[in-house]
């Protein structure tokens, strides 16, 4: 619960600092959920743009244009959305780290672990993806590498959700769960069933769930459990 009001000159006593930091954290939780809502929405739209937009274009007068123009517009849209989603990701991860720092300082603790390093995660993903492609010699190599990167990034996402929130809100679990399920079902579909459309279905469904999470997080920030409860 945020204090009723902070008066103009209420001289802060030393022990007020921790109570004030707790107020900042309580506020931050609702604020951070709204920021994560934007993150889910942006990634949801970006993933849909990869898989769905080319088919949607076919239903519009856009389909009458030469193939080269269609391809250029679709690719530009993908690049712009990916850039926006990556920028939002870097910002939200930084914000989550700073919130984590404030929380553990409020508890009088020092960080025991270093912030997650994206490059390390990506390196693991590329090595794993390469190993899987070599072992399966699959024709869907690009999909497999992409799925490995996304699966490893899901661990990165879970780690940041855990650092940003205590407890992790409902939409965080749903978003991370949808992501993991999409990565696993995509693998199963490509490696075991050799069915590339399953890949599209898995990630398309995850993107729609992420859009739902964005709407939920944006409008359900009032029913918050207090920080640390």
């Amino acid at each position: 619960m945020v204090p009723k009001s902070f008066q103009e000159e209420d001289t802060a006593e030393p022990l007020d600092l921790r109570a004030t930091a707790r107020s900042a954290l309580r506020f931050e939780r609702g604020f951070l959920r709204r920021r994560w809502a934007a993150y889910y929405a942006l990634w949801g739209v970006t993933v849909l743009s990869y898989y769905l937009f080319p088919y949607l274009f076919d239903l519009t007068p856009f389909a009458q244009l030469p193939f080269g123009v269609q391809f250029a517009v679709d690719a530009s849209l993908d690049v712009v959305l990916t850039f926006a989603a990556l920028t939002a990701s870097i910002r939200i991860w930084g914000l989550s780290e700073r919130t984590f720092d404030l929380r553990i300082a409020t508890e009088g603790r020092r960080p025991m672990t270093r912030p997650a390093n994206l490059l390390r995660y990506l390196l693991v993903a590329v090595v794993l993806g390469g190993a899987i492609v070599l072992s399966t010699r699959s024709a869907s190599a690009a999909y497999l590498i992409g799925d490995t990167v996304l699966a490893v990034l899901s661990i990165f996402l879970l780690r940041h959700l855990g650092r940003a929130f205590r407890p992790v809100p409902t939409e965080g679990w749903v978003a991370a769960g949808a992501y993991l399920i999409a990565a696993v079902s995509s693998y199963v579909s490509l490696i075991l069933l050799r069915y590339p459309v399953g890949h599209l279905l898995a990630w398309g469904t995850a993107a729609v769930i992420w859009l739902g999470c964005a709407v939920y997080a944006r409008f359900r920030t009032h029913d918050e459990p207090p920080e640390g409860s």
Partner: protein, 120 residues
């Protein structure tokens, strides 16, 4: 039996806090709250700060002026899809001040440590 009183770490922490709160610009829990929140978010709009502090508009303007005067933040007008907005950005000096507050928070004795320092 008389105890030893607060240990050197606790004394150092309280001295640090004393220094922080001796500064005019941090002699208000609203201003500390603004600095802690700005330290995390780097930039906040005036309306978000109103929501955070529950201050009246005039009070918030006063707090922001005090913090801006001390060089801890910078206010400016930005144009967004929702119209023009006043935003506050933390400055480099503000970041240093924020890190100081975080260090003090870490060193602040918890309730358990407090009672341990009380004479038995």
């Amino acid at each position: 039996m008389i105890g030893h009183g607060p240990g050197p770490e606790v004394r150092e922490s309280l001295a640090g806090l004393g220094e922080q709160f001796a500064q005019e610009e941090l002699r208000s829990s609203a201003r500390i709250l603004i600095m802690l929140s700005l330290g995390v978010n780097q930039r906040l709009s005036f309306s978000t700060l109103l929501e955070l502090t529950h201050c009246a508009k005039g009070s918030l303007s006063y707090h922001l002026k005090q913090l801006e005067g001390a060089g801890l933040l910078q206010t400016s007008m930005v144009f967004t899809f929702g119209g023009p907005r006043v935003v506050a950005d933390i400055t480099e000096k503000g970041r240093t001040q924020y890190r100081g507050l975080i260090d003090e928070l870490r060193r602040l004795p918890g309730p358990g440590e407090h009672s341990a320092a009380v004479p038995s």
